[in-house]
């Protein structure tokens, strides 16, 4: 049985202190990961969310957490997933870009190093997600969602102009059931206006993970693209050396004229009705996808949310 957990928090960026705002972001993310069912491994060297020092170097890690999945494939040791989250300010000493790196492996040494077992190649390269400069006195929502304490998607510290986006999701079969083949990762870094996707494969040593410089997805360009009472959320599609994977159950893209922003929508995928949320982010997302941006001025992100 699939269970969902969602977390919605609001980061209050303050003018008083970049450090205070950034600590607030890290604390809210931590609460969010816990509330969606991920388990903090409390690795040696884990960031102290209330006292860490902010870096003066843009993109420099200020500390990490290693989380693990809490779903059946992890807990039965069939396909463990450890997610290392390294927090970083993507901005500067005067500008806060709420950033973080994501990397995934199948083992964790207890000291903050995620890696791979003897029959796999990994871990994944670490990928950055995060926002453009946060403005003081503004609330920035953080929406996270996980299925059964495992595969998860998040839109973090977003406004209408910016968002961080991440996806960590297991491979799927034809029926939409999670499998132990690989884990795919996708991120959007609004500060640098770029998106990336990669993967970690279990029990494969023949080809190390590569990074695509966009998130692969199908995208309609003609709004309204509804036909015969159907309109699609176009899901992110993993790319692994074997080819294209079955589409994500958690991260997709829509055209703004097709779906109301800031609202949830019911959509059927893998023969199951699911709830998706389209955050009210009206710019900065065109570079998230893998096609010509001039055809995508109205593209929005949609995340699983139930």
């Amino acid at each position: 049985m699939t269970t969902f957990a969602t977390s919605s928090l609001a980061l209050n960026a303050t003018a008083a202190s970049i450090t205070a705002s950034y600590r607030d972001f890290v604390q809210k993310m931590t609460v969010g990961f816990e509330s969606i069912g991920w388990v903090n491994t409390n690795a040696v060297g884990t960031i102290n969310t209330s006292s860490f020092a902010i870096s003066t170097v843009s993109g420099s890690s200020v500390g990490y957490q290693v989380w693990r999945f809490n779903d059946d494939l992890h807990n039965t040791n069939v396909a463990p997933v450890f997610v290392k989250v390294e927090y970083c300010n993507l901005g500067s000493t005067t500008v806060l870009g709420s950033g973080y790196y994501i990397s995934v492996g199948s083992v964790h040494d207890g000291f903050g190093n995620v890696g791979f077992n003897s029959s796999s190649v990994g871990p994944t390269p670490r990928l950055a997600a995060g926002t453009t400069a946060l403005q003081s006195g503004t609330l920035y929502p953080i929406n996270l969602c996980a299925i059964s304490g495992g595969s998860a998607v998040g839109v973090t510290a977003y406004s209408n102009a910016s968002a961080g986006v991440f996806l960590v999701e297991r491979s799927l079969d034809f029926n939409g059931n999670y499998t132990a083949d690989y884990v795919s990762i996708a991120v959007f870094d609004a500060y640098n206006n770029r998106s990336r996707q990669t993967y970690f494969r279990y029990n494969r040593q023949d080809f190390s993970p590569r990074v695509e410089t966009a998130i692969s997805a199908l995208t309609s360009t003609t709004t309204v693209s509804a036909y015969a009472n159907n309109v699609a959320i176009n899901m992110a599609i993993p790319i692994v050396p074997d080819g294209y994977g079955y589409p994500s159950r958690m991260l997709g893209f829509v055209l703004s004229n097709d779906f109301a922003l800031g609202a949830t929508h019911q959509i059927t995928m893998f023969a199951t009705q699911s709830t998706f949320f389209v955050p009210n982010i009206t710019s900065a997302l065109t570079s998230i996808l893998n096609r010509n941006t001039s055809a995508l001025s109205a593209c929005r992100v949609a995340i699983r949310y139930e």
Binding site: E212, A214, S220, T221, Y227, A228, A232, Y244, N292, A295
Partner: protein, 291 residues
């Protein structure tokens, strides 16, 4: 069945070039198992075609029938209208699909797609040695029009929809192709279920999956882009047209690729010069099936 006809354009006067060009397109359909349906007003003897001095003047037209096992129960027709282009010898070709025709040059019924103006409407002169290249088996047809001239080079795909095993099905059809003047201004895709009004036409390129970029090779293999007919949601991808990146494939290169578990041959149409909104991605190249 593949068809590759070189047009030896040595005299850029209108009449000989136009008749040869129309003949090549007509032969492309016939060579790929399509059946030309007699229509009142469709000229049989192309040598009788007169000179057209005006731009965008219809010369003649053809209606072709699909010729596959599904045609008896779900007929499908293509109308090609031949126009003069914007320069001596240049030709514009309008393409449309539907389930029925009236015998006098019009597709009829509910399921008639929007016409694609597949050809040059401006002064894009053809060059000697221009090719008309086609591939088809009566259930699909790909057509590359004058690939030697990228300004007026265009590509078309006519096909039925496919099931999850890559077999054509009777439920509907898909028309995909480029159009424009001195550049490829549009790259459109439109689906119609048989008996229903067509779905919204995708005018800024079809719904597609981009080929891998970084790296282009996964485990030594290219992962090429797939095109998905769209009817409110993506349908099964076409095995007849693929997308690649110009850094990975040469102009007109033939290469093998496997879709639906079956390896087929594809040709890079080398069509480029997309208008901004029509360009699927930087360096996009349209590959069409040729076997």
């Amino acid at each position: 069945m593949a068809y590759n006809q070189t047009i030896s354009v040595t005299n850029l006067a209108y009449a000989p070039v136009v008749s040869e060009w129309i003949g090549a397109v007509r032969n492309a359909f016939l060579s790929c198992s399509f059946v030309r349906i007699p229509q009142s007003g469709s000229v049989d003897d192309l040598t009788t075609l007169g000179v057209r001095t005006a731009q965008r003047q219809q010369i003649t037209y053809d209606v072709f029938a699909f010729n596959d096992a599904l045609q008896a129960t779900t007929p499908l027709f293509i109308r090609i209208r031949y126009f003069s282009g914007g320069a001596p010898g240049s030709m514009c070709l309008n393409a449309q699909m539907g389930n029925a025709h009236n015998g006098s040059g019009s597709l009829t019924g509910t399921s008639v797609t929007t016409e694609i103006e597949n050809g040059s409407t401006t002064a894009a002169s053809p060059v000697s040695g221009a090719n008309v290249i086609a591939s088809g088996d009566g259930s699909y047809l790909t057509l590359i029009n004058t690939p030697q001239d990228t300004r007026s080079g265009q590509v078309l795909l006519f096909e039925r929809l496919y099931n999850a095993n890559g077999q054509p099905v009777s439920g509907g059809f898909h028309l995909c192709g480029t159009s424009g003047g001195s550049t490829v201004n549009d790259f459109t895709s439109q689906v119609s279920y048989s008996g229903s009004s067509p779905a919204p036409r995708q005018t800024n390129g079809p719904v597609f999956l981009k080929p891998t970029a970084n790296p282009a090779l996964y485990d030594g293999r290219l992962l090429l882009g797939l095109i998905f007919p769209y009817a409110g949601f993506p349908l099964n991808p076409t095995p007849n047209m693929l997308l690649a990146t110009s850094t990975e494939v040469s102009p007109y290169q033939l290469l093998k690729y496997t879709v639906y578990g079956q390896e087929r041959t594809y040709r890079n149409s080398a069509i480029s010069s997309f208008a901004a909104a029509a360009n699927p991605f930087t360096g996009a190249q349209i590959l069409v099936r040729e076997d």
